[in-house]
Amino acid sequence: MTGPDPILIFDAVSKHFGGLAVIEDLSFSVRRGSCTGLIGPNGAGKTTVFNLITGVYPIDTGRILLDGVDIARIPSRRRIHHGVARNFQNIRLMPHLSALENILIGQHCRNSGFLGVLQPVNLIPGNRWREEARAALAEAGLAQIENATVGSLPYGLQKRIELLRALMAQPRLLLLDEPAAGLNPAETDALREDITAICRDRGITLLVVEHDMHFVDALCSEVVVLNFGRKIAEGSPDRVREDALVREAYLGTAAAEQTHA
């Protein structure tokens, strides 16, 4: 079950909301340096997995190990310090901040001491953090929008700023929730190439939730399939594709009915 050199291990994690089990006894691992896809039908619990890793919700039982540390016991605020960063399915940028300031927020976990907080980033022209953020924007080809209020930017640009904000935390593990949703095929391809290059260059492990199977096939070396909060398959995209349970979960065939009846 646990592959070689895992960076993240989900160990028998369960989560209930009220009486409803959204994640049930879920175990899987993410290999260091891999690009792992998390797929499954709507409501299978994919985003909940992200929310459990980052601490939006506490888990009921089990462990979540990041490089051997059980981060499920760490307050959500501290988890980014341990190297987990994420984006959000519905973009969640700070609408009253500029693009540059949003990216500066991404740096916070690397510079969160008292003195760090009181650094006048907007006053001193050559401030190191500010320059780093500007460089990141410039590298992404977004230099011209650094002072734009993010609320006024088109959807695609907002998605890229959110990704940059997560990268600014210099994570070891990056969680991307439907990064390609709402992008057209050309944008999706460009995004995939960008993500691949960034993760390779910086040694970032990627865990990605995505509905777009082409995207998953091209990006991910491994896939974990969820249905009703349980893992129903894992392995390479090709192997998962041939899995009978996965076919049922997607299809609602007669066999699936028997399983759930």
Partner: protein, 285 residues
């Protein structure tokens, strides 16, 4: 300078200080309706110190601010457990309690009010105001200002980005309380007299109105709001109640037409020449 003009300017300077006291917590997403309560603490404490210990107002006033800030810090932890409208009501209850408490405090004159011996004039008050505005402006050019806005915009994401949301909220609330205390001290030492009745919920509400009117998203908002709100009634002349009537009507209309206040961060950036193509588009739509 005529006495009238000085009077108006003193009022303006003190109102600006109050406005920043309300602005700090509002910038972090908390509506503090107890500003008058913290002002009354700072006012009475600084008056008491300068009366009893013959300390210069220049020292007594910041001291009053510090005490108001300490009280703010002490209550921030329980009070900030509540949110939104409940927080507004809790701070309102707090302000009324403080006021009622001082009304019963015979050592500072109780309901009869408390005379203050030391006297400060416009230049001193203006210096204090400049100091407060400068400090808040400096604070908002640091990472703190960005973090406060982030906490205001999305607490959940701010938390996940590693920001200590609660600490930032407590800090903003405490600093706001301290600034309110300074405002109260300035008031007490200029008018040579302080009475708790004056520091009512109406005062708190008007202070919050300054900020919402001016705009909560930029450091210039409170300055502008307090200035307009102080000077407009003077310009309107007429009897006091009609001034208030016109004034409330203007406020209602502004909130309908421009609920984000008069100035926003986007506009400030535009003003500073930091415009971008997309902001311009926004302006066009």
């Amino acid at each position: 300078m005529s006495g009238y003009l000085e009077g108006v300017l003193v009022l303006l300077a003190i109102n600006i200080v109050y406005a920043y006291a309300a602005f700090l917590p509002i910038a972090a997403g908390q509506l503090n309706l107890g500003i008058a309560g913290f002002a009354v603490i700072g006012g009475y404490f600084s008056a008491f110190v300068s009366n009893q210990l013959a300390v210069s107002p220049l020292l007594a006033i910041p001291l009053g601010g510090a005490v108001a800030g300490l009280v703010g810090l002490a209550v921030a932890v329980p009070v900030l457990r509540t949110r939104g409208i409940y927080l507004a009501l809790a701070t309102f209850a707090l302000g009324e309690m403080v006021r009622a408490g001082i009304l019963n405090l015979e050592v500072v004159g109780g309901a009869a009010g408390y005379p203050v011996t030391a006297f400060i004039r416009l230049p001193t008050i203006a210096l204090f105001t400049l100091g407060v505005v400068g400090l808040v402006w400096l604070l908002f050019s640091t990472r703190f200002g960005i973090a406060i806005t982030a906490v205001h915009d999305d607490e959940r994401v701010a938390d996940l980005m590693g920001l200590n949301v609660r600490a930032f909220q407590v800090a903003a609330f405490t600093m706001g309380s301290a600034i309110a205390g300074i405002g109260g001290g300035l008031y007490a030492h200029h008018f040579s007299y302080i009475e708790a009745q004056y520091f009512s919920i109406s005062l708190s509400i008007s202070i919050v109105l300054y900020v919402l009117f001016g705009g909560t998203q930029s450091v210039l908002g409170p300055l502008l709001g307090a200035t307009v709100f102080t000077l407009l009634p003077e310009l309107l002349r007429g009897s006091a109640q009609w001034r208030y009537v016109i004034f409330a009507a203007i406020l209602i209309v502004v909130m309908v037409v421009r609920p984000q206040g008069l100035v926003t961060g986007t506009q400030i950036r535009r003003l500073l020449g930091l415009r971008s193509e997309f902001d311009r588009k926004e302006q066009a739509t």
